[in-house]
Symmetry: C2
Subunit: 223 residues, 2 copies
DNA sequence: TACACTTCCTAACAATTGTTAGATTTGACG
DNA sequence: CGTCAAATCTAACAATTGTTAGGAAGTGTA
C-alpha cells in the first residue's frame, strides 16, 4: 500500500510533554492536542478502533491534515504510548521522592503502588495499552523498552527492601513484582469510582497482602 | 449497512462444546471448526484484527460461506468467548473436585488457581478476551454474565475458608479475589514457557503470597 | 502591497471489511 | 440413475480505512 515516503516537513521527535524552555512555539500545540485526543480515544475504545478520522474530528481537523504532524498512524499511537508510560513513570518517581530518602523501602513501595494505581485508573492506561502483544510488532519493541525501565523502578524498591532484610526469603521477587503489577493493572477492569473504595484503598489492600498474607498464621503451611 | 435480516437456516444455539449424546450430526462440526479457528486467531492477534476472511481461510472455506453457520461476525466472537470462559470454568471446577470435599478450602483454592492459570496460559484467553470493556457493548452483557459465574467459584472458596476461620480478618475478600485473579490474568503478558518457571510455580508463588506475605514479620506494620 | 512559509482542507486512491443474493456443488436417499 | 436439501462458492455491494497530491487559507516579513 505504501512503498516510499517523499520529502516531508522535518520535525524532531521531541518529548511532547515537557517542552523544556526553548519553545519551538506555535502549532506544535496541535501535535500535542492530537496526541491528547488520540490518548482519550485509545483509553475509551482501545488502540484498535481508533481511526485517523476520529482523532481528527476530536481535534477539529480533517483526517488528511494529521499527516502534516505525523508521518503515519503508527507514530501517533507510539506517541500516545510514550506519553502514557512516561506519565506513569514520572508520577511514580515523584511519589517515591516525596516519601523521602529516609523512609523505609516498604513505605516507598506503598507510595509507588498507590501512584501507579492512581495513574492507571485516572489515565486508564495499562489495561488498554500494556497489552503489548496485541500491538503491531513495529510498535512493540520501542514500547517494551520503556516498559522495562518502568518495571525497574519497582524491582529496585523490592531489591532495596530485601537488602535491608525486610523481606522473607524464598520468594522470587521478579515474579512477585509482576504478579503485583498485574494485580494493579487489572484493577482498571473492575474498579468503579462510584463504589466505596478509593484507589488508595485498593493499593493498600495489595500492600497488606504483600505484608502479611490473608491466611491466619498456623493454618495450612504452604510452600 | 445492515437493516433487516431475511429468512435464514434456523440453528439452535447449542452449547457447542459438549454435544451431549443427541448428535445433531454432520457439519455442525464445521461450526465447531470455525469456532476453533476463530479461537486460535483471537488468541494470536486479539478479537479485533480477526476477519471473516481469515477465519474462512483457516477453515478452508470462503468468507461468504460462514454465513451459513453464523448470522454475523459478532456471533462467532461470542461463541469463542463462550467456549473460552466455559472451558476455564470446567477446568477449574474439575481441579476443585479432584482435590476432594475433605480437603482444606485453601488447598482447593490452590488447585483452582493452578487450573485457572494453566488454562489461561494454554488457551491464552484472559489476556485477550477478558478485556471486556473493549468488546462491543452487544457482546459485553452476555459475556459478563459468564464471567461473574466464573468469579463466583473463587469467591466461594474464599468465603468457605473464612467461614472455617482460616483467614485473617480485616481483608476485603472481594478485593483480594479480584487482585489475585488480575495477577494471574496478567501472567499471560509476561510468562515465557522457555523460562525456568512452570505455570504451577507461578500459581504457587501467588498462593505463598496469599498465605503469608513477603514481608518479614515485625518489619513495618502496615494497615 | 507582494512574497514566503506554515497550517489545514478537498478530493480522491487502493485496500479491506462485513455482508448478501444467487448460482453451484456436494451428499444422502429413493 | 434422479431428486432434494444441505453446504459451499462466486461475485459483487456499501462502508470504512490509511494515505496522498495538490490546492486553499492563514500568518508574518519585506
Amino acid at each position: 500500500m505504501k512503498i516510499d515516503r517523499p520529502a516531508r516537513p522535518e520535525r524532531a521527535t521531541l518529548p511532547v510533554e515537557d517542552a523544556g524552555r526553548d519553545r519551538q512555539t506555535k502549532a506544535d500545540k496541535t501535535r500535542a492536542r492530537l496526541i491528547q485526543v488520540a490518548k482519550r480515544l485509545v483509553q475509551e475504545d482501545g488502540s484498535d478502533r481508533v481511526t485517523l478520522r476520529r482523532i481528527a474530528a476530536g481535534a477539529k481537523m480533517k483526517a488528511g491534515s494529521i499527516y502534516y504532524h505525523f508521518d503515519s498512524r503508527d507514530e501517533i499511537i507510539r506517541a500516545v504510548l510514550e506519553s502514557g508510560v512516561g506519565g506513569a513513570r514520572m508520577a511514580v518517581m515523584q511519589a517515591i521522592d516525596e516519601a523521602g530518602p529516609a523512609s523505609s523501602p516498604l513505605d516507598r513501595l506503598r507510595a509507588a503502588l498507590r501512584a501507579h494505581l492512581a495513574y492507571t485508573l485516572q489515565e486508564h492506561f495499562s489495561s488498554r495499552l500494556k497489552a503489548i502483544r496485541r500491538l503491531p510488532k513495529r510498535l512493540r519493541d520501542h514500547h517494551m523498552k520503556q516498559e522495562r525501565a518502568y518495571a525497574a523502578i519497582f524491582a529496585d524498591l523490592l531489591a532495596e527492601a530485601q537488602k535491608k532484610g525486610l523481606l522473607r526469603s524464598g520468594f522470587n521477587l521478579s515474579v512477585v513484582r509482576m504478579l503485583s503489577m498485574g494485580a494493579l493493572t487489572w484493577v482498571a477492569e473492575w474498579y468503579s469510582p462510584d463504589g466505596p473504595l478509593s484507589p488508595d484503598d485498593v493499593a493498600d489492600e495489595l500492600m497488606r497482602l504483600l505484608a502479611g498474607g490473608i491466611v491466619e498464621p498456623g493454618a495450612s503451611p504452604i510452600g
